[in-house]
């Protein structure tokens, strides 16, 4: 790739481009934060407007919105347990408990820094290694996706602090939700009850809003009579340098995970955040703190979901294959502009690479400032009396669920999810395993069915693919590794005694 400044300078110094990036970033944070509006929808909404711009400013605007929108979701996830967008779902697992403990500012600060670090790292990778990394996309077929899904699911039993059995039951419920709709490999309708809105499956966003925000609303409504421990001004405090030192490794690990998952076509920030959270917990010295307000539980998913933005742009630009749902919309935007993404794009349009690269880099830096400066302002929301806050959240939830497809079916799904989530919560079930089941269920099932066709219905086929095999072995180790270790320890102590 030709990295000469000749093409970069006109982009970097164009005030219109810079203005649009700033606008895209601010809009992205707001759209990301509003429950129901995600970055993919924000980019889609801006697409018609971007048609009136030149290609480079247009794509700069859309990419800035993509980056900032992925961060924005964490704000509402932390403050009101309503993940503003699907990628922020894992952030709520620990972010909201932090806010209820009076550490909203700390959680927001960690989220901003982790997001920006993950995002910037991924943009650098995009600039320097895109053609090379794009080849990874080709080595990932259905068997590899199946193994990746199984690996992620192997953390299911221990994802939240609840009893492993309850986590597994919750996970199964999630898998069941994921089966609704027309099955991809057979074309058969499952659990649609003749409702056309369910042909393509239950939408993720209404389930998400229901399970988190509506459940929390019902929960709060029960405690209105009780005196709340006043959340002090400590809520406005930003994280300390020590905090950052603690999450440094988590951010680095999650960034790598995020870039990798982002590069894979079809899988984007949500999956990245889920795996980022799992691994943060797996490598933590204090895994029992997760789900109760661990800062690594915020840094893990936030670094991963923003790292996935740069990763997702790799196959989008280098191969013309979208790396995520939002990247697919940006790809559409490039085509409407008359540009054809693919191997020749950068040779034909060298300025474009700089436009995208610069927009994403600047957006990450900008939302870091918005996030850190805003943390003090946003965290005041956790000081708003519940009687005002939650009814407002409730209204927002309805708008979010309805606005997705202008469909009442989605609103009902949200309400039912909220009620189910509330009953489950009262009985000691957390939302995390359910969400994990919903996110991964379809992937695992579909990729298994596809793999079996590819392997002519021979199970042994999985053993012949090195990536698949190693991921499956990792999954098995993570399932029974603890048991093996304790057995080994017992054997070792016995041999020591006999010696």
């Amino acid at each position: 790739m030709d990295l000469s400044l000749e093409y970069a300078l006109p982009v970097l110094t164009d005030p219109i481009v810079i203005g649009l990036i700033v606008a895209g970033t601010v809009m992205g944070v707001v759209i990301g934060a509003l429950p129901g509006l995600s970055s993919s929808m924000g980019v889609a909404l801006l697409l018609p407007f971007s048609l009136y711009l030149e290609p480079i400013p247009a794509i700069a605007l859309l990419s800035a919105l993509y980056c900032a929108g992925t961060f924005g979701g964490s704000i509402t996830a932390i403050l009101i347990n309503a993940p503003g967008a699907p990628p922020a779902v894992a952030t709520a697992f620990d972010g909201y408990p932090m806010a209820t403990k009076g550490e909203a500012g700390r959680a927001l600060g960690i989220a901003a820094v982790s997001s920006a670090s993950g995002g910037i790292l991924s943009v650098l990778v995009l600039l320097f290694a895109a053609p090379l990394l794009a080849q990874v996309a080709y080595s990932f077929g259905p068997p590899e996706y199946f193994a990746l899904g199984v690996f992620a699911l192997s953390m299911l039993a221990s994802i939240s602090g609840e009893a492993p059995l309850k986590n597994l039951i919750g996970g199964c419920l999630g898998l069941l939700i994921a089966t609704v709709g027309i099955d991809l490999t057979t074309g058969v309708e499952r659990f649609t009850f003749g409702v056309p809105e369910l042909y393509e499956g239950i939408q993720f966003i209404p389930v998400l809003i229901g399970l988190f925000a509506v459940t929390e609303l019902l929960n709060q409504a029960q405690e209105l009579g009780r005196e709340r421990i006043a959340v002090t001004v400590s809520a406005l405090k930003l994280p300390s340098l020590d905090d950052f030192r603690r999450v440094k490794n988590t951010i680095l690990r999650s960034s790598c995970i995020g870039i990798f998952v982002g590069v894979l076509p079809a899988e984007g920030s949500t999956m990245a955040a889920m795996v980022g959270y799992n691994e943060a917990k797996r490598w933590s010295k204090t895994p029992d703190d997760f789900g109760k307000g661990a800062i690594e539980g915020v840094a893990g998913p936030e670094a991963a979901n923003n790292a996935a933005t740069g990763g997702a742009m790799v196959p989008t630009l280098a191969l013309g294959i979208p790396g995520s749902a939002t990247a697919a919309v940006i790809l559409g935007g490039l085509q409407v502009q008359g540009l054809r993404p693919g191997p020749y794009l950068f040779e034909e349009q060298p300025g474009l690479l700089y436009g995208i690269f610069f927009a994403m880099l600047l957006a990450n830096i900008l939302f870091l400032f918005i996030g850190l400066l805003g943390a003090k302002v946003f965290s005041r929301i956790s000081l708003v009396p519940r009687t005002f806050l939650w009814p407002t959240v409730f209204a927002l939830c309805f708008v979010g669920a309805y606005g997705l497809n202008q469909s009442m079916v989605d609103v009902w799904i949200m309400i039912i999810s909220g009620l189910v989530g509330f009953v489950l919560k009262k009985n000691g079930f957390g939302p995390a395993p359910i969400i994990m089941g919903v996110v991964l269920g379809g992937l695992v099932e579909t990729s298994l069915a596809q793999s079996m066709i590819i392997f002519d219905q021979q199970w042994t086929g999985f053993l012949s693919r090195p990536i698949t095999l190693s991921l499956l072995v990792l999954a098995v180790i993570s399932l029974i590794g603890g048991k093996i270790r304790s057995v080994l320890r017992r054997l070792l102590s016995r041999t020591n005694r006999t010696a």
């Binding site: 993919s40 929808m41 980019v43 889609a44 909404l45 697409l47 018609p48 048609l51 996309a137 080709y138 080595s139 990932f140 077929g141 259905p142 068997p143 027309i182 991809l184 490999t185 057979t186 074309g187 056309p196 809105e197 042909y199 393509e200 076509p265 079809a266 196959p315 191969l319 013309g320 294959i321 979208p322 697919a328 919309v329 559409g332 935007g333 490039l334 085509q335 409407v336 502009q337 008359g338 540009l339 054809r340 693919g342 191997p343 020749y344 497809n405 202008q406 469909s407 579909t446 596809q450 066709i453 590819i454 002519d456």
Partner: protein, 328 residues
């Protein structure tokens, strides 16, 4: 108006005359004045997808051509059924236009949704993206005949987007005519098929030209046949299925229809407006960016309407053969 000598009183006649004149004027006005309200282009795809992008590219120029505000209205879900139900509940006055793809026609063939094929009246076609049979560039298979021969020994792993979708039906009909075997591997999108064909998980696929043009140009994929009547200008050395003796013509088309019962003159106005927009340089640039040739994509009412019916009939016959639907 002629006033008869014998008859009701003059003033009555005068009133009748005024009323009838006013009525005539109103009808005349209604005929001239279309569109009077903003026109909705209803799509079944979520914002950002191909159907949405095409509709927005068309609307951009059509707003000017028809001198009216136009909006792209996504009614997603149900493989087009939600969008068809919505349009069916709107007045058939030309202010609601439905963007259709083979997905809609196949849904109708399966008996889903409120519409029958006779309800559709073609207005104009925006894109015609032919299905191209392709294999990996380093494959031993050089021609369609060789692929067919290979399938007779061992089923060809054929990537498609959806069971009962256009590329599945196209592959199945070809296999039937050529007496070869397919093992269908469904994926959720063209991008996934490209990566899996590249990665070697599948042997062949019927991809849209626009989905794999880059790979074909670079030699990563080898195009064996175009499922069309005539060769594509961009792939002029690739034979068509018809040339090779298999009457299998399928493409992913995107075009616009109104429902039967819409006044004839309004359909004409819509057709003129949409076609004028599609002839603008901006729309041509959009087609070019996707890898399509304007003259092969854009078509007026007559050609588009004929294609809708042909696609529907071919798909229905194939679905009966494949056992997806029953004949009745």
């Amino acid at each position: 108006m002629k006033i008869k000598r014998s008859g009701p009183s003059g003033s009555n006649i005068g009133t009748a005359a005024i009323i009838s004149l006013w009525l005539a004027g109103a009808t005349c006005l209604a005929q001239d004045k279309f569109p009077v309200r903003p026109i909705d282009i209803v799509t079944h795809a979520s914002p950002g997808g191909g159907t949405d992008a095409t509709a927005r590219a068309v609307v951009r120029g059509a707003r000017v051509a028809l001198d009216v505000n136009m909006a792209v209205l996504p009614r997603t879900g149900g493989g087009g059924v939600v969008a068809m139900t919505y349009v069916n509940n709107r007045p058939r006055d030309g202010h609601t236009v439905l963007a259709i793809t083979p997905t809609h026609l196949f849904a109708i063939a399966r008996g889903q949704g409120p519409l029958s094929i006779d309800d559709l009246v073609g207005v104009a076609r925006a894109t015609d993206d032919a299905i191209v049979v392709m294999v990996r560039g380093d494959s031993e298979v050089q021609t369609l005949a060789e692929l067919i021969q290979l399938g007779r020994e061992q089923p060809i792993k054929w990537g498609t987007t959806q069971i009962g979708g256009v590329d599945h039906i196209a592959g199945a009909i070809l296999a039937q005519l050529a007496e070869t075997q397919l093992s269908v591997v469904p994926f959720s999108g063209g991008g996934e098929i490209v990566t899996n064909l590249m990665g070697g998980s599948i042997d062949a696929a019927g991809l849209n030209l626009t989905e794999a043009l880059g790979q074909i140009e670079r030699g990563d994929f080898r195009a064996l046949a175009v499922m069309a009547d005539e060769r594509l200008s961009i792939l002029s050395d690739v034979p068509t299925t018809v040339e090779l003796g298999y009457d299998v013509v399928f493409s992913t088309v995107r075009g616009y229809i109104v429902l039967n019962g819409t006044p004839e003159n309004r359909i004409e106005i819509l057709e003129r407006g949409l076609l004028e927009s599609m002839q603008q340089p901006a729309y041509h640039a959009y087609l070019e960016g996707s890898g399509l040739e304007a003259s092969e994509s854009i078509a007026g009412r007559e050609e588009w309407d004929r294609q809708i019916r042909r696609l529907y009939n071919d798909a229905r016959a194939a679905m009966i053969d494949l056992g997806i639907i029953e004949q009745n």
